[in-house]
């Protein structure tokens, strides 16, 4: 049978060429589908690891005695013999204790830190506080920023003047400086002998305050744009109240913008927390944050022990990349330009 025969055969009369019923689904190849799922996959993995670290075998297995507590607290004893072991795949890296006979020379997916704790387990544990701090901060920042922005953008007048000027003042401050100031202000000063574990809330509060002004601006600008749209005037002309217009007409329209911005904001806050931790200003709870881990390893960089800093940095980098990719996907999904007459 020739090719032509095959083609002709496919168009048999039993199969109608035009389906009269539901239109056939058209498959459209979309760009970046694999990266999207990789990003989602990584975020799911990191979130599950962060929440369930204590009971997840791939994490607790790496810790001495199979308990993640041993990966978070400072340890003594035989563990020390395992300190600063390079990752197993980094065969070229020379371990510190290579001279000791009969001891392991490489350990784990990411190596060990200066206390002999497994870095992979610590990085997964570190996700817990890093994500918690950034997530809570962006949530509160969104709630407050959206409220302020909508009120300012819809009611205008003196409320707008006050909120807008405050926002401008806050934005004029160098962000990191402001964060350092806020964290120092909220934290009780450390006394020389007792470095009491610092609570989470000062850093969260500082990041919330940091995230409010840009969000307020964004929401305000969007609200102003939507408040002048005809459908809002139409709702008003049908007797809708201010609060109803704000929450039923305007808010649903700006939520998509907010969602994609929230992800970018969260990535920025993870970095901000890292920067603060690097300066020794973040939390010092038993479970580290990524920033604190990078900071701890930085002292050993010159000695050629690169993995202590680099491994948590890699995890942080991948997480930020995933969040930003997902933000892009959301922005593309929602940034539909409608016909504006």
């Amino acid at each position: 049978m020739t090719d032509i025969d095959v083609i002709a055969h496919q168009h048999t009369p039993e199969v109608p060429l035009i389906d009269q019923g539901a239109p056939a689904k058209v498959r459209v190849r979309k760009r970046g589908r694999i990266t999207k799922w990789l990003a989602i996959g990584w975020l799911v993995f990191i979130t599950i690891s962060a929440i369930g670290a204590n009971s997840l075998p791939y994490i607790s297995h790496s810790c001495p005695g199979g308990s993640t507590t041993n990966c978070s607290t400072a340890l003594v004893g035989d563990i020390l013999s395992k300190r600063e072991l390079p990752p197993t795949w980094a065969t070229w890296a020379t371990p510190l204790n290579k001279t000791l006979p009969g001891k392991a020379t490489h350990a784990g997916l990411m190596g060990t830190d200066s206390n002999g704790r497994d870095l992979f387990a610590r990085a997964m544990l570190g996700a817990r506080n890093s994500l918690l701090i950034a997530g809570l901060a962006i949530t509160f920042g969104l709630a407050i920023g959206t409220f302020l922005g909508m009120v300012a953008g819809y009611f205008r007048g003196w409320v707008d003047t006050v909120i807008d000027n405050l926002t401008n003042v806050m934005l004029a401050f160098p962000a990191l400086l402001l964060a350092i100031f806020l964290v120092t202000f909220f934290n009780k000063p450390d006394t020389a002998e007792s470095a009491a574990p610092r609570p989470l809330w000062p850093i969260i509060l500082a990041l919330v305050i940091l995230s409010i002004p840009p969000l307020t601006r964004l929401v305000r600008a969007n609200t102003i744009a939507y408040a002048q749209r005809d459908f809002v005037v139409a709702a008003r002309s049908l007797g809708a109240k201010g609060s109803r217009i704000l929450f039923r007409e305007i808010l649903p329209n700006i939520v998509p913008t907010l969602l994609s911005f929230a992800l970018t904001g969260m990535a920025l806050l993870i970095v901000a927390e890292g920067a603060l931790a690097f300066l020794g200003l973040s939390v010092e709870v038993p479970i580290p944050t990524w920033g604190a881990m990078i900071s701890a390893g930085s002292e050993r960089l010159r000695a050629g022990v690169w993995w202590i800093s680099l491994m948590p940095a890699l995890v942080m980098f991948l997480t930020l990349l995933a969040i930003n990719l997902l933000g892009d996907v959301l922005a593309q999904r929602f940034n539909r330009r409608e016909a504006i007459g």
Binding site: F231, A234, P252, G341
Partner: protein, 361 residues
């Protein structure tokens, strides 16, 4: 049956209200906007009355103040930087300085508005059924189910195909004509006595325009509403309104019953507007006459008649003295012009112009 009973209850209530006198009485309404350039006199002393069940067409170019006039009557303009004076009486009650809460009660139930662009006047993220239902639940206190049933009924009345399906669709899933039908259903939902239609067909396809105007007309008759139809197209109002008011530079320059206006228009501006509509009986490639110049600056209006700078018939008096409203032969026909169409000086000037035209050729 419950949605219908709600409607009936409402119309009984409407019937028990004061029925004598005009529905709407606007006296010397002025609406000025404070801007950095100065005071923009968008509406500058407009007076008219509208009886129950009657329809009025407001015609004018962009910037003539027709849209501001309709929004000002409804009280929809933002308070900031707006100066409003004069009187707007609705069913004999002064509504111009009502507090916002009382105005809200009027909006939707007594007066409602259809907007120019159905692409933007529906909320893009709210289902059609919900948008119509909102007003019903708010104003008429309907339950969710009743509101949905009434919405369906309304969609059927505005002759939307497959109304059940439309209830759960979003605005972007509908065509422009269908959206405008939804907008009409929305404006009609709480049974208003006065409907404003602000250029309801401008954004639509020519083939759909006639259908929409027809629909508005049918709804007006069936519900015994009064209608104010704002447009820049004399052709649109010609077949659809009882009276026509021509606005220019924020003022009313001519008002008459539709047939009287077309039979004996007095204002050169009205005449020029009519001439700028293409006529089917003209031979093809006939040059369409246009009105030269631009609408007047509403911050610094010219002294005298505001149309004088663009008027072919203007004389010295037109440039210094504002013409008052003069009643024509028909008692309901008023116009503001020193040298109206048909007057000796107008006729002389027309002959002069015709001579100049033929001389040029």
């Amino acid at each position: 049956m419950s949605p219908h009973s709600a409607h009936t209850a409402h119309s009984i209530q409407a019937a028990s209200r004061q029925l004598e006198g005009p529905l709407l009485e606007v006296t010397d309404l002025r609406t000025h906007f404070r801007t950095e350039r100065g005071l923009v006199r968008s509406v500058d002393g407009v007076s008219f009355t509208l009886d129950r069940g009657r329809s009025l067409g407001i015609v004018g170019e962009s910037g003539s103040g027709k849209t501001v006039l309709s929004r000002s009557i409804m009280g929809l303009l933002p308070k900031r930087n707006t100066e409003r004076s004069g009187s707007v009486k609705f069913e004999g009650r002064e509504v111009i300085d009502l507090p916002l809460a009382d105005r809200r009660k009027i909006w939707g139930r007594e007066m409602s508005m259809i907007f120019q662009d159905p692409m933007t006047s529906l909320n893009p993220v709210m289902r059609i059924g919900k948008q119509i239902g909102e007003g019903l639940r708010l104003h008429l206190g309907m339950s969710k189910e009743d509101a949905r049933a009434t919405s369906l009924h309304l969609l059927r009345e505005v002759r939307i195909p497959e109304p059940e399906k439309r209830l759960d669709q979003y605005a972007f899933e509908l065509s422009g004509g269908m959206r405008q039908r939804v907008m009409i259903a929305l404006a009609m939902s709480c049974g208003p006595t006065l409907l404003f239609a602000d250029e309801p067909t401008t954004a639509l396809d020519v083939t759909v325009q006639a259908q929409i105007l027809e629909l508005i007309g049918v709804q007006k008759r069936e519900r015994n509403m009064s209608l104010i139809l704002v447009t820049h197209d004399l052709g649109v109002v010609a077949g659809h309104t009882d009276d026509i008011m021509v606005m220019y530079g924020g003022r009313m320059v001519e008002k008459a019953p539709t047939n009287v206006l077309f039979a004996s228009m007095k204002m050169p501006y009205t005449e020029a507007l009519l001439k700028s509509i293409p006529k089917i009986e003209d031979p093809s490639h006939t040059r369409l006459s246009v009105i030269p110049g631009r609408p007047p600056d509403l911050v610094n209006p010219p002294p005298g008649c505001s149309f004088a700078p663009r008027c072919s018939f203007a004389q010295d008096r037109c440039r210094t003295e504002v013409p008052p409203l003069i009643t024509a032969e028909h008692p309901d026909h008023v116009y503001a012009c020193w040298y109206p169409v048909g007057s000796p000086s107008h006729r002389a000037r027309t002959a002069e112009l015709a001579a100049a035209m033929s001389g040029a050729h």
